[in-house]
Symmetry: C2
Subunit: 200 residues, 2 copies
DNA sequence: TTGTAAACCAAGCGCTTGCTTGGTAGGGTG
DNA sequence: CACCCTACCAAGCAAGCGCTTGGTTTACAA
């Protein structure tokens, strides 16, 4: 467990992955990612953690609440990790690479399945919950935009910042469908190739 | 209706958009795109075209068959359009731009909603149907790969062909979530910006 | 030992789902 | 006219869904 994560756990901002609730959320992320939220039943979810379906509602008040919790904690973790990565990079190019590596890591390491859920299952949330998640996402995106704008001032980037960010969001997010960490290209190399898209 | 489309209709390879079945498929694409396949009920679908839910099963043997048909015809149309666009471009750069414009158009013009369904709802198909759609997609992708490889030989491109294609797939596909044709950037300009990602 | 609260089970309720059934209105054809 | 065939409706079935309920087990503190 990295320092950022344990800090968040001990401060109570996110659930301990070791706890019963944490295990349940990981199982939920796994099922929601691979089958989709709607196609995952509470009975499957219960079976995945070895309890009856009804017992889930002792931990969460609804199936939707599980989805929301998975999404919420995932963003919180990754915002914190991005802050940390930015702090350790000095020049604009290194900062941009750091964000790319962070986002790729968020998709392909511990929070990977939850990130997939976050991106592809937001429509299953009620309207007010969607707004809340969107608000957290805005915080995340503002880190990207300010970094890209620093790159523009340094002459690294010729694209419009908003458009570049959106193109990169798609390019990076889509890796969830094809990239496998054990394949013949490392995450770092993939990050480099992605950086080469962005800078001239 | 463009020449490519009417050719496909009159040869019987795809359904006439004017027919009852065609209207039903458009309504289905609309609902599946905006609500998701699982969250769309046959009752809603019937109401959208002004018939009872049970009457749908006179035209299609199952809800899944509607989804499959929407996906299948969408790929067929867009493969045909890409062939046509490639024929009318001469040098590698123009060919690449033509493909980018084609893919952006497929997402943001008549087949747009169906393309969204194709990309995000394939998990709702049974296993054998998934394989069939994947096979059609392979045909589509081979057009891209050969064009990118021509670009590499011409010195336009430094990326690995497979990786570049996948990054571009994501970048272009993601535009469905943010680009609006009536906004302040045209599809052609967006295609140009996307081309700038790919070439050095 | 007793009290309390958290964690869980077994059963099933009420509702929605995709789909089936039996029947009918209407236009074209002999 | 009779005979179809296509397109549709009205009704409802069987299955599966999220979730509730009442009660039991377990852990730990007083």
């Amino acid at each position: 467990m990295d320092a950022v994560l344990s800090e968040l756990v001990s401060s109570g901002r996110i659930t301990d992955p070791q706890s019963a609730k944490g295990r349940l959320m990981r199982a939920a992320a796994h099922l929601f990612k691979n089958k989709g939220y709607e196609r995952t039943t509470v009975r499957e979810l219960g079976a995945a953690v070895g309890i009856q379906s009804g017992s889930l509602f002792h931990h969460f008040k609804s199936k939707e609440a599980i989805l929301l919790c998975v999404m919420e904690e995932t963003i919180i973790i990754n915002i914190a990790r991005m802050h940390e990565a930015l702090k350790q990079a000095d020049d604009p190019k290194a900062k941009l690479l750091a964000l790319i590596e962070c986002e790729l890591a968020s998709i392909h390491t511990d929070t990977g399945e939850a990130m997939g859920v976050l991106v592809y299952e937001w429509r299953s949330l009620g309207e007010d919950k969607q707004k809340y998640i969107l608000q957290l996402r805005d915080e995340y995106e503002s880190l990207w935009l300010s970094t890209i704008n620093q790159g523009k001032q340094a002459g690294l980037i010729i694209h419009d910042a908003f458009i570049l960010r959106r193109l990169l969001t798609g390019a990076i997010g889509w890796t969830t469908t094809w990239y496998r960490p054990n394949g013949d290209i490392s995450l770092e190399a993939l990050a480099q190739q992605t950086l080469q898209l962005a800078i001239k």
